[in-house]
């Protein structure tokens, strides 16, 4: 009897969910996090082991599956810098230099645990396939595999709350299943316009022991944008969108 009870508990805690469409679930997660095209403000906070911190404020616009642009508003040393992602291409524009240069997703223009891929995040369903879905208590556990080698993290384990269909935690891993970083989604907030999502994302990494980075979200609004906004030529003019 005891063995039966233990077996039932194990199955309840982690059960492959055969009937659930993982791809549709992932698309729902993406739409619950943000509309397909939007604008938003974010504050990135890098916290060092001694407690000191550096803060950056960005204005971000996104359109469709593969277009993201971000503009640094503060601090003054970074103001005017912008990054653009168009599919697999990523550029950084520095006002003094005056022309965009190509950058990689694994670099970080702000330092800390977040890298360019985290800052210029596309929809998860655009970059990942769902290989398996499990039920774990109040969450679904989605196992994600990158669609191409150009994606920053080869594998993700995403815990999605069953009721809200929002992520609570994501583990980012290499092809060899080595943990690179963990993202924690907290403080669900109603941003209006039917957007209710975590307003805080924290991250830590075994590769950066003692360091923590936090992303705060604000003013997320659905917004239609022209494709021409997401071009190299427009990068110096991103501030005109605010």
């Amino acid at each position: 009897m005891l063995k039966v009870l233990i077996l039932c508990a194990a199955l309840t805690y982690s059960v492959p969910v055969l009937a659930l469409d993982g791809a549709e679930l992932l698309k729902t997660v993406d739409r619950n996090l943000a509309p397909p095209s939007y604008e938003m403000y974010r504050k990135l906070i890098n916290i060092e082991p001694d407690g000191r911190k550096k803060e950056f404020v960005l204005f971000t616009v996104k359109k469709g599956k593969d277009k993201v642009a971000a503009l640094f508003i503060s601090p003054p040393s970074e103001r005017g810098r912008s990054t653009l992602r168009l599919g697999d291409n990523m550029w950084l524009y520095i006002p003094n230099v005056g022309k965009p240069v190509r950058i990689t997703s694994l670099q970080s223009v702000v330092g800390g645990v977040f890298n360019n891929s985290d800052i210029m995040q596309l929809d998860y369903h655009a970059e990942y396939d769902v290989t398996r879905v499990e039920a774990q208590g109040k969450d679904y556990l989605l196992h994600l595999k990158a669609k191409t080698k150009t994606v920053a993290y080869d594998q993700l384990k995403m815990w999605v709350h069953k009721e809200t269909v929002l992520p609570t935690r994501i583990e980012c891993m290499t092809e060899a299943s080595m943990l690179i970083k963990t993202l924690y989604f907290k403080n669900i907030q109603d941003f209006g316009g039917e957007i209710a999502r975590p307003s805080v994302m924290e991250t830590d990494s075994p590769l950066y022991k003692g360091y923590k980075s936090i992303m705060l979200f604000a003013n997320i609004r659905e917004r239609e944008l022209r494709d021409e906004v997401f071009t190299l030529t427009f990068m110096p003019n991103l501030d005109s969108l605010r």
Binding site: Y41, K43, I45, I47, E48, G51, R52, K53, K54, E55, V57, F59, I73, S74, P75, P76, S77, R79, L86, G87, D88, N89, I94, P95, N96, V97, G98, K99, V101, R102, T104, S105, L106, Q107, G111, T150, V200, I214, L216, A218, N219, L225, R226, D227, E228, V229, F230, T231, L232, T233, F234, N237, D239, S240, R242
Partner: protein
């Protein structure tokens, strides 16, 4: 030591105090004050910088003899540079006005001097994301190269020792027209430019009294940035160019530039100072790579061929002429030849990279040994024609918000009658403290 000069210390302390008060507090509850990010129609910002420099003079060098033939400043000279760069903008509707002014005050062995320059002053109209019109003084920054840009037809040459410095622009009228597509051609943009050169306006662009036309076509095609450009008009020789940039892998980028200058007029002298002039079509080009390792070491390697540059023989003739002038001054006190050499040096033989073939290598390491906000780098510029070179190690520290500290040294090496061997200095050491606001 010169870096311990009292005014420098005072200014550095002021920078540090301002920076420490303005940022870097212990972590507290995370807040996001939305009123602080509300956009205002105006903005004023910029940076203040102090830059003391120590130069070690090369008393055997031709360029030393030209500049110091009638004075002895010892084996070193100092320069104290202070800069205030202000950026201001105002927006209303589809219009935006932007101004960038650079004020510099410096003290050298010749005393105090100062200069304020309008780097940019532009009125922009942006009726839509696809279309914008700019009129005023601005930089165009064409090209994909890091240290050099043979296709930067509308810009002043940048300093390969400090390619990220802001430059003074030219008065232009430009238009940007952008289109996006869904297929292999993702983006197309067209940027025509008008460059008038009359009177004082753009007088250092080229021959005055002409109206010049230029244009650039940009494509993002199969994940490759491609540009085609041209400059036409009588202020400069007509020129045509192309460039590209592409990631071969996510951490490995290649880029290149090619320029064809039609009927380029080149002046040079023989060892007796007799002036010659030739006219020919010349090619200039650049090929480069940028590679980022897993340990966040960045390598930038570029080869530059400057078709308008001097050959090794032409440079030797120039240096011989300077030696001849110096010998004449020493023996007779007559500095006529040296004065003539000064005129030849400015804008020609004395430019930063006056010869034909150069190699550039820059290696930078982000936060080695986990030292936060600390970035050492090494830059090597090698003259392939005469094997002379410059080597510049530097360290940059950005641990205090809005404050950037850079300590940089440069050593020049080369035989007699070589590019770097005949520069005025053997070495330089500088500390730059820049505070952004």
């Amino acid at each position: 030591m010169f870096l311990l000069n009292l005014p420098c210390i005072a200014v550095l302390l002021l920078f540090l105090t301002l920076a420490l008060f303005s940022a870097d507090c212990p972590a507290r509850e995370y807040t996001f004050e939305l009123d602080k990010i509300e956009k205002k129609p105006y903005h004023l910002g910029g940076y203040a910088e102090i830059n003391p420099i120590l130069f070690g003079l090369n008393k055997d060098a031709a360029l030393y003899k030209i500049n110091f033939y009638d004075r002895d400043e010892g084996s070193t000279v100092e320069k104290y540079d202070m800069t205030l760069q202000l950026d201001g903008s105002y927006e209303k509707g589809i219009a935006r006005a932007f101004v960038r002014a650079n004020g510099n005050l410096n003290h050298t062995y010749e005393g105090w001097s100062g200069k304020t320059t309008l780097y940019e002053g532009v009125l922009s109209l942006r009726p839509s994301p696809s279309l914008s019109v700019d009129i005023g003084k601005k930089t165009m920054k064409w090209g994909k190269g890091y240290a050099w840009n043979p296709v930067a037809f509308l810009d002043r040459p940048k300093d390969p020792n400090d390619p990220a410095l802001a430059l003074e622009g030219f008065f232009v009228a430009t238009l940007d027209y952008i289109r996006s597509f869904g297929g292999p051609l993702k983006t197309f943009s067209f940027t025509p430019a008008l460059v008038p050169v009359y009177g004082d306006m753009n007088e250092d662009f080229g021959e005055t009294g002409h109206f010049n036309v230029a244009a650039k076509f940009y494509l993002l095609f199969l994940d490759t940035d491609i540009d085609f450009m041209f400059l036409s008009g009588d202020s400069k020789s007509p020129r045509y160019g192309a460039d590209f940039s592409r990631n071969l892998t996510s951490n490995f980028e290649i880029h290149g530039e090619l320029a064809w200058i039609k009927d380029f007029r080149k002046s040079f002298i023989d060892r007796d100072g007799k002036l010659f002039e030739t006219r020919s079509d010349v090619w200039s080009y650049l090929a480069g790579i940028r590679y980022l390792t897993a340990r966040e070491t960045t390598y930038i390697l570029e080869y530059y061929h400057n078709g308008t540059g001097f050959t090794e023989g032409e440079m030797r003739d120039y240096f011989s002429f300077v030696e001849k002038g110096y010998d004449m001054y020493l023996s007779t006190g007559d500095d006529t030849l040296l004065t003539g050499a000064v005129n030849l040096t400015e804008g020609r033989y004395g430019t930063m990279n006056p010869m034909r073939n150069y190699l550039y290598l820059r290696i930078s390491q982000k936060e080695p040994f986990d030292i936060l906000y600390f970035t050492p780098a090494l830059t090597w510029i090698f003259n392939l024609d005469d094997q002379s070179f410059s080597l510049s190690p530097e360290v940059v520290y950005t641990g205090i918000t809005n404050l950037e500290l850079r300590l940089k040294g440069t050593v020049l090496a080369g035989d007699c009658f070589t590019d770097y061997g005949e520069k005025q200095n053997d070495y330089r050491i500088e500390l730059r403290a820049r505070y952004y606001f």
